[in-house]
Amino acid sequence: MTTALLYGLAGIGLAVLGLRGSLAQVSLLRRLLALNLMGSGVFLMLGAVAYRGPGLPPDPVPQALVLTGIVVAVSATALALALGRRLRETQDHD
């Protein structure tokens, strides 16, 4: 219970930090890093909900959601990096 609360709050803090960064940063790379940190915060919240204490089996459903989320996040990051590169190339031509 306390463990779940502790890590859940950490997840929320991480999500807030990432959200603020993704809005306030100007460079594309740092925005992407911030978005990834925000995603990790949300995942951590889900993971905290899934945790049920030492010795007890955790809830597999949120864990499976997180697993799906991690793979989607990395593919979205890869696509965003490719978009950023294309953007820079078109700007260089101007």
């Binding site: 609360l5 502790l6 890590y7 859940g8 709050l9 950490a10 929320i12 803090g13 991480l14 999500a15 807030v16 930090l17 990432g18 959200l19 603020r20 809005l23 306030a24 940063q25 100007v26 460079s27 790379l29 740092r30 992407l32 890093l33 911030a34 990834n36 940190l37 990790s40 951590l44 919240m45 993971g47 909900v49 899934a50 945790y51 089996p57 955790p58 809830d59 597999p60 459903v61 864990q63 499976a64 959601l65 997180v66 697993l67 799906t68 991690i70 793979v71 989607v72 990395v74 593919s75 990051t77 890869a78 696509l79 990096l81 490719a82 978009l83 950023g84 590169r85 294309r86 190339e89």
Partner: protein, 335 residues
């Protein structure tokens, strides 16, 4: 007595995690930011291990602590910002400009408010004495799922639609990357150290990927982790000078990228034809079908993430005939 040690460990882990996130965002030098982000992924993997989520810890160790770092670093190579010396004082280039301070404060306040609302909701949700969880239903019917690892059962059987759509998202991202331009420049041929490393690391990674795919049925592991590890083998291959990253050419590469979605859909449709619901595995066959889908998904995830590291449409994407017909260097240089 080990209770106190674990609580202190929790506190340190959380402190380090948040500190690394903060430092990542505050880094002026983008390369430093990426290194800190890799360290963040490593600590997050430890956190998942602590939260009794070894399946997630495996994925985070493979993706967060390894692969996304490699992806970001490859992208940094064509980032003009990366060129300057970090020991120099901050140059006042446009890339460094910040938002006006008033907007900045308002933004901070807004995010904080949002965080407080989420905190309230989260604490409220946790304080329910004995919440009704889906876990009970998963455990009650896990025998029918064909696997004994509950996370794999949820991913491939009980919530198979999610995973199918996730593979579709992965494919869509890949198509986007391929459409946006040709691949990034390659790496210098490996020196003796890197060549020696690749010589044992690539077989080791492939073996570990196979092991995790197999073990995923009854213990932590599965297609995502295995796929990410295969992609890491491709990354090493490309770093050692092989531009194609060990991927096959032409039609074989296309088939590999499509394999996950194709086999998943094929199994679903075959079940429909056989008179069962879409992706409703018959319990006796479920184990075999899940292994078939997971094997295809592993290859597809590996190929997709490897192509993401390549960073665009590789020369090998088209067959040799197509390449001759449509010489990309000729086409690209026209205005």
């Amino acid at each position: 007595m080990d209770g106190i040690a674990l609580i202190l460990l929790d506190a340190l882990l959380i402190l380090v995690l948040l500190g690394l996130a903060w430092a990542t965002l505050e880094s002026r030098d983008p390369r430093r930011g990426v290194v800190l982000f890799i360290a963040f992924g490593l600590v997050l993997a430890l956190v998942w291990a602590r939260l009794a989520a070894p399946d997630v810890a495996l994925a985070e160790a493979a993706i967060g602590a390894g692969l996304s770092g490699a992806l970001l670093l490859a992208a940094l190579r064509d980032e003009p910002e990366a060129g300057h010396d970090p020991s120099e004082p901050e140059p006042a280039t446009p890339a460094r400009r910040r938002l006006p301070s008033l907007t900045n404060w308002a933004l901070g306040l807004l995010c904080l408010g949002l965080g407080l609302v989420v905190t309230w909701a989260f604490v409220d949700a946790l304080s329910v004495a004995d919440p009704e969880r889906l876990a009970g239903q998963v455990m009650a019917r896990i025998v029918e799922s064909g696997v004994s690892n509950p996370v794999t059962a949820v991913l491939l059987n009980f919530r198979g639609y999610d995973t199918l759509l996730e593979l579709a998202v992965l494919l869509a991202a890949l198509l986007g990357i391929l459409a946006l331009g040709p691949e990034r420049g390659g790496y210098a041929p490996a020196g003796p150290v890197l060549a020696g490393l690749a010589g044992w690391l690539i077989p080791g990674l492939i073996l570990t990927g196979g092991y995790l795919l197999w073990v995923g049925a009854h213990a932590p592991g599965g297609a995502f982790q295995a796929g990410a590890i295969l992609a890491a083998a491709a990354v090493i291959r490309r770093l050692a000078g092989d531009r194609a990253a060990g991927l096959p050419q032409g039609l074989a590469l296309r088939a590999l990228s499509l394999a996950g979605v194709a086999v998943f859909l094929g199994v679903g449709l075959a079940l429909l034809v056989a008179g069962r619901p879409f992706l409703g595995f018959p319990p006796t066959w479920a184990g075999t079908l899940i292994l078939a889908i997971e094997s295809a998904a592993t290859l597809a995830i590996g190929a997709t993430l490897a192509l993401a590291f390549v960073g665009g449409r590789p020369a090998a994407w088209d067959s040799p005939q197509q390449r001759r017909a449509l010489d990309p260097t000729q086409v690209r240089n026209q205005p």
